[in-house]
Symmetry: C2
Subunit: 359 residues, 2 copies
């Protein structure tokens, strides 16, 4: 990881020197949009491509320019004091910036995005953090953290939470891990997480269970990525069999999303594989379904046409087309038709054994 303080100093020094030389200072930022993104499997994520914009200090840009510099200074101070600030807190701290105070929270969020993209770091590295849950974890994993106050090393044994779980913090950069688990299983809902806990799945299959709680937050994605990288663990993903599960949850976890492309490098999990529920599972396991909604059909057709990730994989195109021709979606919990224990005793073991994952 780059030394962010040095990066900040470098950018500030550039601006300072240009001003002293009597030259208008400027900042160079990558363009953040879907049109400036590509997917290559070797890279593993939706990557921002070359287009850049240059912001030069003028009458029109002076406020944004000042805000960017002050926010860089705020970040430097946060790093020095070991604190992290949410977006909202940053916005309110800027109340004391006089003419450079933000007009709205959207304004402060944009400046924060610009800084991330300019320094090519993620928000957590410049000590800003999201205000969102980070997912829940149970199973054969020891998380190593430090006590906030004493800075002493703490070992958090995720087998010892009973019916509860370890809640992932929003900043996971300083965590490290110890585990003998064979894989990570990331599931869509807390309901399925607790089902698998109740069935003792992490014990019988020596795995780490993560509840994403719908679309995984940045912290949840980063946690899985860091854990999978450091411990060379495979990652299997288990969601509902519908466009929301396939694209919003799985695709986002694996390769990131279009509108935050400058971040995908840190938050993608390229080693993720899709376990289920697939359209074919509906047939193989005789599962109860619901008809696709109009919005599902639109979303699926759009993905086949425009989503660089889906377009890249024949297997995904086939699966999405099969879903469309069946006109049906399926929920994870539909497996309960065969009894509450079926998912842990039959479905997941069979899928893991067959290794018939979607890429």
């Amino acid at each position: 990881m780059a030394d962010v303080r040095k990066l900040i100093d470098k950018h500030a020094r550039d601006v300072h020197q240009r001003i002293r030389r009597g030259v208008k200072p400027s900042m160079t930022l990558p363009v953040r949009s879907l049109s400036n993104v590509r997917y290559r499997p070797a890279e593993g994520y939706l990557k921002i491509t070359g287009k850049k914009k240059v912001r030069t200090l003028t009458v029109n840009t002076v406020k944004t320019f000042a805000q960017t510099l002050r926010m860089l200074a705020m970040s430097k101070e946060l790093i020095a004091t070991g604190r992290h600030s949410t977006k909202r807190e940053a916005y309110y701290q800027a109340y004391n910036w006089g003419a450079a105070a933000f007009g709205s929270q959207e304004e402060s969020a944009t400046v924060m995005d610009d800084i991330e993209a300019m320094l090519a770091v993620n928000r957590e590295q410049i000590h800003f953090r999201a205000d969102e849950h980070g997912g829940e974890v149970a199973g054969e994993l020891i998380v190593i953290d430090r006590d906030r106050r004493t800075r002493r090393r703490i070992e958090i044994d995720c087998t010892r939470f009973g019916s509860g779980a370890y809640s992932v913090p929003t900043v996971v950069e300083e965590l490290s891990f110890r585990t003998k688990a064979k894989f990570i299983l990331a599931v869509e809902t807390k309901g399925m997480f607790e089902r698998l806990q109740e069935e003792g799945f992490t014990h019988t299959h020596h795995c780490i269970l993560v509840s994403m709680g719908g679309v995984p937050s940045r912290a949840c994605r980063r946690f899985i990525r860091r854990l999978a990288d450091e411990k060379a663990l495979p990652v299997y993903v288990f969601t509902d069999g519908d466009p929301y599960g396939y694209f919003n949850i799985y695709r986002t976890l694996k390769v990131g999303s279009g509108n935050a492309a400058h971040l995908n490098e840190y938050f993608c999990v390229p080693q993720a594989k899709f376990l289920g529920v697939t359209p074919q599972d509906i047939i193989d396991y005789e599962l109860p379904t619901h008809p696709l909604k109009e919005v599902d059909i639109k979303r699926a057709r759009d993905a086949i046409k425009n989503d660089p990730f889906i377009r890249h994989y024949k297997a995904w195109q086939k699966a999405v087309e099969q879903m469309l021709s069946m006109g049906q979606r399926v929920e994870q919990q539909a497996l309960a038709k065969h009894g509450l224990g079926f998912v842990a005793e039959t479905y997941l073991p069979e899928k893991l054994r067959s290794r018939a994952f979607l890429p």
Copy 2:
């Protein structure tokens, strides 16, 4: 807590005996609606009053009747095997009930609500559970649970999670607690939770910190209630200063809600007191605000007129009227205007010392 299995047996036996005597069987259920609810502070929650409806077995009710009996049987089996089922799982298990299978998930949810109301128990006692997060906990508390598999006693020390937290399970009935904490502080957002963790607040003030994550889920409310009851702890609530914080979050936590009135007895936290952010705090602490939205104004006016809880307390009426006359709402994070540490070092200690809570 009633022995639920005996209760189920009793209801089933009544139906069975009436059939054997050649009498039409029937079930008696309380009416679940706002018009059948009252608030008395001594009771501490929005309580369902006398109105009942009788459901007699006829051609029109035969399907619901059969579903209710089969779901009672499902519940009895869940209790016997020590499992819990989500609503969704119950719906899919019922696929094998032939003519009694549910037509939709709403249908199964209604039968579940009826059974809760009829037995006067909560869903968790009949071994059904919600599919939702249960909130996060850190601070001076040891939660005592059992290992799922070995049934051995587990002690979960909530001071030892570093930057992470203990995630509350959806069923908390079997947990017990050990603590020397002086109070529970329940906060609206994960962002504020992590702020107070970072400032070491639970250590300096010997308290237990709970992140509700917006409107507290059933599990979160039940967790706070059981902990506060068993350990005789005061509960202070810290939300944004807006109608959503006052009514949707605080009012729901303290006395429950109208449309689930048969449950409020278990899920309310009558000992809860509102710490802030109050409209008066905006003045006292010179906080940045946002104008009230149209929907906020409507919600506040409606509460003064119709909400039995707000109508009961002069102090709340005054606060809501002050908010309306100022036309402003305030976020918890606005305190960051005075620096990130201000909330932990100045605001909360002053509010706790003055004891100027809203009821």
